[in-house]
Amino acid sequence: MTAYPDFSALPDAKGHFGIFGGRYVGETLMPALLELEKNFESIRKDKDFQRELLILLQDYAGRPTALYAADRLSDMAGGARIFLKREDLTHTGAHKINNTLGQVLLAHRMGKRRVIAETGAGQHGVATATAAARFGMACTVFMGKEDIRRQAPNVARMKLLGADIISVEEGTATLKDAMNAALRHWTACVEDTFYVIGSVAGPHPYPLMVREFQKVIGEEAKEQFLTRTGGMPDLLVAAVGGGSNAMGLFFPFLDTKVEMLGVEAAGEGLEGRHAATLLKGSVGVLHGSKSYVLQSEDGQILEAHSVSAGLDYPGVGPEHSLFKDCGRVQYTAITDIQALSAFKLLTLSEGILPALESSHALAAAILEAKKRPKTQSILVNLSGRGDKDMANATNHPEFAVINAELLLKA
């Protein structure tokens, strides 16, 4: 049996997950990161903080979320039984709220009056604006111009929540550039502003902090699954852009024998435009941490592509890079068309409209289910709901001709 690192002991004191992670930022931000780390370590052990967060997660965000046996979908796939962890049922409609409630509560405790965030699909922006409204804090969200176009309902929603939206037009005008803009802005107002990062990416302590706020997904799922079936699932499946929903589901299962599959966006195909950072990238430094990145031979960051704005990112959380290298988690990729097929299939078979991000995980789960016996079970993180994606999905040039057969007969 392969010996894995002791994941519970990572990151180390300097924020490294093996060779990955760290704090690669300009000196101006270093003191703020050190202060944040100190504050985060203190609230991890603070019973009052943890109690307040628990109440928020229950009464405000709607936790625990359901564990649902998607039996009609499973029957169609004709193999292993598929279960869904329903993060789409949380307040604001995605797992992102778990993290923003934690970070905004921390910001409030630190006496910050203002939060900023970057967003791709808009789910993290909405979740941050929501938490900021709940705590009466000012909120500015940086969003790529291209994503503003793709995710109009979320933009309108953030504005209603009182957030300022800054349209980022540089570079590819997507999540990567929104994060660049947020980092620049934070550098200028680091003394009174808290930066709420939405994924297990960025400089230490963000990958650790976001993991700790998201692992509630896996902790709940583990208990629910045990109660329901008396055992463990055979396989966990989750989409990976930056990787927070996957980390949230996977982390509490790392010390078990459960298999795990992270699903990246293959976009138009792995030889064309895609966002499969772990599968096709190489080790580099982007947005404050060392991890796999999509880059040229000269170390210039490449443009990522996915139909899903939340996966359209040329980087990935450093802890996923470690999981990949040591083999604890397997990673695969799903194309735009396959994801749209799963999007249609879940809606038709179960009456659940999944986010395009989550549709990537679903598509991979369906393909896996077909290969496995009925006695096995697969747990998918249904990380968000798809209302925001309606226009974007239906406008896809091939949407009308995409059907479920594509996945079921693959």
Partner: protein
């Protein structure tokens, strides 16, 4: 390394601050960039910072970000930047510091980068997203190649941390004059000057102030408090805004002369 030390010593003897200029290698194109740099050196630039373009320069404001984009569009890579250093070194003894983000250096290979940079004639390297804590993988190679790592100190840096950075410093300290990215407006020269005095009191090496300094009057106000003044975005903005590229070298030469004059006047 000796070139940096000697230059600061000569400036001190002449009772003037060193003028440090930043341009992005290959901005707006290789040929014009070479002419710009030669013109700046001919007009009294004391130290040259050459930027290696990067697609995602998060510590820079829009002016230098655009310069990076122009250079990348012109096909400039880390390799072409090193070629430019070599060419300058054939004609000028002026100290040269390479200004880069870490990723292009890692892609080139940290050890190979240090060897190549030293061979080209560079004296130091400033990696903007490599704080002290993460310098372990580059520092040994820099030292082995005889290059210095130029550390940053920021207005947000607490005193104890500043002392640690200074204790390890070689070459000079790059003191960030304001909380923000490069090319920001609203510099308070009084505050920046006070900060520079504090850092100078503990630093064994010269202290240069940079970020947001764009006018000769600001330079003159800061010169009594610092060993060097860094001008970047003010030069780069002109490169970006001047349609007739042939005119840029002369304009930047003239600007260099004016800034250098401000470096000598008030001491």
């Amino acid at each position: 390394m000796n070139r940096i030390r000697n230059m600061f010593e000569q400036c001190r003897n002449r009772k003037e601050a060193a003028l440090i200029g930043f341009v992005s290698a290959g901005d707006p194109d290789m040929e014009t960039s070479r002419k710009i740099i030669f013109s700046m050196l001919d007009h009294g630039m004391d130290l040259l910072e050459i930027g290696i373009p990067f697609s995602d320069p998060t510590a820079d404001g829009p002016v230098i970000q655009l310069a990076s984009q122009r250079a990348l569009k012109a096909g400039v890579s880390l390799g072409t930047a090193l070629k430019m250093v070599k060419e300058i070194r054939e004609h000028y003894p002026t100290p040269i510091v390479l200004f880069s983000y870490l990723n292009p250096i890692l892609a080139h290979g940290p050890e190979k980068f240090c060897k190549d940079a030293a061979a080209a004639g560079a004296d130091g390297v400033l990696v903007v997203d490599m704080p002290l804590e993460e310098s372990g993988e580059l520092l040994p190679f820099l030292e082995a190649s005889g290059l210095v790592s130029i550390p940053l100190v920021a207005p947000t840096t607490p005193e104890d941390r500043m002392e640690i950075i200074c204790r390890n410093a070689k070459g000079f300290i790059y003191l960030v004059s304001m909380t923000g990215v490069t090319g920001s407006g609203g510099l308070h020269t009084d505050g920046a000057g006070a900060m520079a005095r504090k850092v100078r009191a503990v630093s064994p090496v010269p202290v240069a102030l940079g970020f947001g300094i764009s006018e000769a009057s600001q330079v003159a106000a800061l010169v009594p408090h610092a060993d060097g003044i860094v001008i970047g975005s003010a030069f780069v903005r002109v490169i970006g805004e001047t349609a007739d590229r042939e005119k840029i070298p002369a304009i930047l030469g003239k600007m260099t002369k004016e800034f250098k004059k401000a470096c000598t006047h008030s001491r």
